[in-house]
Symmetry: C2
């Protein structure tokens, strides 16, 4: 075996990290900064990874290919953006009616999630790491309230990959629009509704001015995980210490992002509610119809895509197993406690 060179003898390494996100999404983009700063500190400045916002090197949706093809050594993205290449990518972010933030992390770290996704990503020259979570997102901004399952029919809804596919079964017409164009499309009525993230991010884009119904929950992302991608080819060349720095710094950034959202969302929701918006849950029959449509979509995908099926079989067992326990202590505490203020 070759001895690992000590840090002192390791030459300085400069890498570029392409984020899929704009700097204005400071919580998500910020996780890449937290990560890069920490890696630098842990290597006495010898391992410099410089983060670039979406569009600076490659457009946000091109991050997977940029890592795969060696344009950049790292990416920070949401894997479900690549749902169109293979639905299996969605397990690395969020599946409709899937896992909460904590459950997703548990599946990745102490279920088979990381192992299965590493196998899948290897084909794309990617070693994936946890890169944050948003928590349960909102259902989005609707020009008209969704009151019945019928209201989904013909709805022009700006919504991403898997959710769009599921809702097509109910007659919804998914729209692909970049974040920067949503406001105008909603204002003009080119689209009927749009989902983005949650109160903290949504507030900045001002959707509350042009679509007054704020539906919840975003059942298609109960806990949307972000991911760091490292070029597998470059990973294998790294000194051990640099690998350890990536491993541990990604875990820190992962936890820090969720904490930042959890600290910032409550006040943002409070401010949004001062704008005469209507905060409404999706009606129960709508949730049920979407759940049924999701189930059908999963089964169809599993029947034709063996890679998807392999991960799905493991994931669905983990997910179903979580229900009983989380409904006991965790949910009953949160339900009682969050509805009562201490004075």
């Amino acid at each position: 075996a070759v001895a690992t060179p000590a840090l002192a003898e390791t030459p300085t390494l400069n890498w570029r990290l392409a984020s899929s996100f704009p700097k204005s999404l400071d919580t998500i983009y910020g996780a890449a900064e937290v990560f890069c700063n920490r890696v630098k500190e842990l290597t006495e400045g010898k391992f410099n990874i410089r983060p670039f916002a979406g569009g600076e090197i490659v457009p946000g949706p091109a991050v997977l290919d940029a890592v795969k093809d060696g344009t950049v050594e790292m990416g920070h993205t949401a894997s479900y953006y690549f749902f169109g290449k293979d639905a299996t990518f969605a397990f690395d972010t969020a599946m409709p009616f899937g896992l909460t933030s904590r459950q997703q992390t548990a599946w990745m770290l102490h279920g088979n999630g990381m192992k299965l996704m590493r196998e899948f990503f290897a084909e794309y020259n990617v070693v994936n790491f946890l890169g944050g979570n948003t928590g349960t997102q909102m259902g989005g901004w609707f020009r008209k309230e969704i009151k019945t399952v019928e209201d989904l029919k013909g709805l022009k809804f700006r919504v991403g990959g898997f959710a769009g596919k599921v809702m097509t079964k109910l007659g919804t017409v998914p729209q692909q629009i970049p974040g920067s164009d949503i406001y105008t499309a909603l204002e003009k009525g080119t689209i009927d509704a749009a989902e983005w993230v949650g109160p903290y991010d949504d507030e900045k884009l001002g959707f509350y001015k042009v679509a007054k119904v704020y539906h919840y929950p975003g059942w298609w992302e109960g806990g949307a995980q972000l991911s760091f991608y490292v070029s597998k080819k470059e990973w294998e060349k790294l000194p051990k210490l640099f690998q350890h720095a990536i491993e541990v710094a990604s875990m820190e950034a992962h936890t820090d992002m969720q904490a930042k959202y959890d600290a910032k969302n409550p006040a943002a929701l409070g401010r949004l509610l001062q704008n005469k918006i209507s905060l409404k849950p999706f009606p129960q029959p709508v949730m049920e119809a979407c759940f049924k449509a999701a189930q059908e979509t999963f089964n169809e995908e599993a029947a034709k895509n063996p890679k998807f099926k392999k991960v799905y079989d493991d994931w669905v067992a983990f997910r179903n197993n979580q229900g009983q326990w989380f409904n006991v202590a965790e949910q009953s505490f949160a339900k009682f406690n969050m509805s009562r203020a201490l004075k």
Copy 2:
């Protein structure tokens, strides 16, 4: 300014970490192992922190003093064990009707929690770091079902610091018994009930054989955080790189512990339920009475303890602010989703 010596010139450092926990609590004790291993890796083996289980160097409840007095350089503990010295310690673990696991982390990292607790701990020669979370714990094992608020009167309940104090207002007689003695005390009826952690840890101690009612939730620890303690005196002497290693390795261990519990508790609950136990929520009037008693206890403590009041004022504002948001997307998603299995 003195230049930071490079890792190559830094002499090897050996530290001891005293855990408050037995190795049989593999999830909690294991976090100290995860932490120590990572620190070693990040320093090319130069910073060796060796973990010791409760009792090996000092008894579990003596960890604070051991760090304060320099017997060991580090500890891993639950700060609320030191509630008897000052109720302010409880904010670093869990307050009755307090925060969930995610909220506790959010308050620490992106609220004022860490800042306030660092100020408080400085008097004890401690720099504190996040060291894991158990999630919402169970209410415990009861020989007889709690059906009314009256049933709490005279109840000999093995329960810790703050919860015990709160329940005294309702006539409960809190019992202090080490984990290893609970089984026999429950079996003999020396005590009427005992709380420990949750399904994964409780199963190992076999309480289900001698107390058949498993109540939930443990409203006194909606998200019980563990903490790493570093001697402040030793911390200030550390090379920067060793400090960074502690900072980042503690974050990893923190997240890893919660993930491990979340992955292991569901199956453990499933197994427990095969033993003819009765899984019961505390009745709503019991929850309400305990909430009222907690509120009174907090106000009494704040009136006489300025250190407590300083942290409480910040904490209670953060806590109350969380309710509205978490009741929207997060709770509605979890409630719907966790009650429905995908097939």
